[in-house]
């Protein structure tokens, strides 16, 4: 019995080792559905084998820290600029070359340690038959004034994009005003969700009427006939914040050439077309064809307030959210 077990374990062990050997290893905080098609296309074109470990940004960052110098990862593909900024701050990322960083039309971080790959925007989702757009404010800062929505507003304080949005508000308006806004919102008794899809489901089911979310979630549900619309706040308003996803090369990488090649490929027109085409995200280079539900790229980019995305301070935001009892 024991010998059989030993045998089984050895075989499995061997299989595991065989798996661990590959030429490019990505740690992706973005989910498989959004990454795999691109990885496959790159593999076919370049002949370079790519392995991906999926997880959430925070989990992967924690794993990278535990692994330290022994990490097998070559690239970190983050779902938020907050996580990428954190990775840069921990000193995990290499500085990228200018040939790479000159490609995106914007959002390149000052540290030059990661490149933006796609952009999403914050919007206010609302129920079509219950809410008139005329009643919705131009600025997210005026949202607490809508007392008619008391108890019928949804938000996601634990979700990274929401936290980036609060970080931006702190950067633009300061700590005191942000806290005031959060408390005024709290007075309207908003419902807190941990996932955006379940929040949009709640709009459909009549649990809430409006919700602070990311633009693509609304579009994915609109596609299948949900009675939900997106309200865009005015240009430059913090409620229209751009959310940048991106990737950087890890200092532990032993395949820097292949990793650079992969990033360059991700910034090519062909790869960039994937973002608007399949998942309703905005590309970061010009020339991609956008579906009618998306706004023209220049208009969308102009919508977001201008700020240095690396200055979004996540830790201070988490502290504030804990202070007002939202986390």
């Amino acid at each position: 019995m024991k010998r059989v077990w030993l045998g089984i374990m050895l075989v499995l062990f061997g299989l595991g080792l065989a798996y661990a050997q590959s030429s490019l290893t990505i740690y992706s905080g973005r989910s498989q559905a959004l990454v795999e098609p691109l990885v496959k296309a790159f593999q076919n074109e370049s002949g370079i084998k790519v392995q991906v470990r999926y997880g959430r940004d925070a989990e992967l960052l924690a794993a990278l820290q535990e692994e330290g110098k022994r990490s097998p990862a070559d690239l970190f593909w983050g779902n938020t600029s907050g996580a990428l900024g954190q990775a840069a701050e921990y000193g995990l990322l290499l500085k990228l070359g200018s040939s790479l960083l000159s490609k995106p039309v914007g959002f390149v971080p000052a540290s030059g340690t990661w490149t933006p790959l796609s952009v999403r925007f914050r919007v206010l989702a609302y129920r079509l038959d219950k809410v008139k757009t005329a009643d919705l404010p131009d600025s997210v800062l005026d949202l607490p004034k809508l007392s008619q929505f008391k108890g019928r507003i949804g938000w996601t304080p634990s979700y990274s994009s929401f936290q980036d949005f609060i970080s931006a508000m702190r950067l633009m308006y300061g700590e005191a005003k942000t806290k005031e806004w959060l408390l005024a919102m709290k007075a309207l008794e908003p419902k807190a969700y941990t996932s955006n899809p379940s929040m949009i489901e709640a709009i459909r089911a009549g649990e809430i009427d409006v919700a602070l979310t990311n633009h693509y979630y609304v579009l994915r549900f609109v596609k299948v006939g949900y009675p939900v619309g997106s309200h865009y706040f005015a240009s430059g308003d913090v409620g229209s914040l751009a959310l940048v996803t991106g990737a950087g090369i890890l200092k532990t990488s032993k395949h820097i050439t292949e990793a650079t090649r992969f990033l360059l490929w991700l910034l090519s027109p062909k790869a960039q077309q994937f973002f608007p085409g399949e998942v309703f995200e905005y590309p970061v280079i010009k020339g991609a064809v956008l579906p009618p539900t998306l706004k023209p790229l220049e208009e969308a980019l102009a919508r977001s307030p201008k700020l240095d995305f690396e200055k979004l301070d996540l830790e201070g935001t988490l502290k504030l959210l804990r202070e007002v009892g939202l986390l």
């Binding site: 499995l12 290893t25 559905a33 089911a205 986390l327």
Partner: protein, 520 residues
Amino acid sequence: MVYRIANRKAPAALVATALGVGSLVLAPLAYLLLRALQAEPAQLGSILFRAQNLELFLNTLWLVAGVVVFTTLLALPLAWLTTRSNLRGKRLFTLLFALPVVVPGYVGAYALLASTGPGGLLEALTQVAWPRPSGYWGSLFALTLFTYPYLFLNLRTAFLGLDPSLEESARSLGVGGLEAFGKVVLPQLRPALYAGWLLVGLHALGDFGVVSLMRYPTFSYAVYLQYSASFDRIYAAWLALMLLSFTVGLLYLESRFLRGLSLSRVARGASRKQALIPLGAWRPWAYLFAAVVVMLSLVGPVLSILFWTRQFPFDSSFALLEGLYNSARASLPAALLATLLALPVAYLGVRYPGPFSRMVERTAYLGFATPPLAFALALIFFSLRGVPALYQTLALLVLAYALHFLAEAIGPVRAALYQTPPKLEEAARSLGSGALEAFLRASFPLIRRGVLASVALVFLSCLKELPLTFLLSPVGYNTLATRVWGYTSEAMFAEAAPFALLIVLLSGLFMGMLLAQDKS
């Protein structure tokens, strides 16, 4: 019939084995302490003395208590019906009652939310919008539906191993049926009840998927939020330790109840088959009860998943086979390994009760209650420092599964051991067998049912596991569960549906096979 066994000295090899298993499970705890001790005192104060902690604590307590009560209300009658009554189609029903455990909480709760309210699946089917579950009752409802099988499987094993002569003696002395159940049968079910309650309680305690979707803040919900948001391993370690102290409380309660039980048969001769109790006029009600449970816990979620495929057009080709293969080749060895590791621990606990054996057994439950994310980080930490070659191999994932789910394997094995008389082994020893041989030849055949239940429970848990899989599997290793999570979190339900269905199907087949074997 409950009586005590005198304390005897356990063989050294057994003690060493059990100790080895225990210390493996404890490794993550050591890691948590290591990280926790890196905290600064000021930071620590703000973690430990938050005003919300009390509210979270009470919420958690209510939820655990509620889930224990309601799962018992489902599992006890269902286990009785499928073992002791003359209900028809018992094997099918057993399978159906065991299956909801395969519905991952995050899928089941989402299915409940997506099918209720205006515009939901249930409205499309019945023309009436069904109320949406949420908060305490929503969490209680969903957790009860998806965890009661743990208790059911434990109780079923216990019912099947009951010695009918005890109940018959009671009846022959003029005790009524219901009274005999309360006075004779129920006390014999206690080890199974406690083990099942503990599992169900720990599930409720550690659940994040259901309570977060139902928006009911419990302790582990808060732990998870901090963990996933803060990128901070020290802070997370403290919160995990706080959650573990809650577990220690539960374990203490269970050990108080279980102390010094012995429920084995003492009569000579083989145990007889139990006579079935006719349901009579109750039969239609029994079927109705069974049907309602199956509808809510199994048919509902599966229909909901099917509805996704219809509602959301699917356009991508999916790697079903790859996911199936990966899920099976990690979960199956893990289930066998966990059961193998559980045997010495459970054996020590049952045959040589005492503070030491109790402690070793409790350790397994601590491993189960350690937040999986912390468990995974600990294994990364230790494997990279100890055996770097093991890191990111399937072997490490299998080991992680087995250690984390060890507690699930202990329950059924332990319940079965309680019902196996030590005399048989003693007889084998007196005939010249060694300790191990005596166990394998005299006791093992009698606890086979328990062993199978253990393998099944761990296998099913591994199939839907996420955090350990994400962090410890070989890079590029996709299981059915990671696919489901990856798609649902992006609102791509049509793509997620086939993988979710396959989890249910695979588990169903596995359970069916086990239960078919179980018959003989």
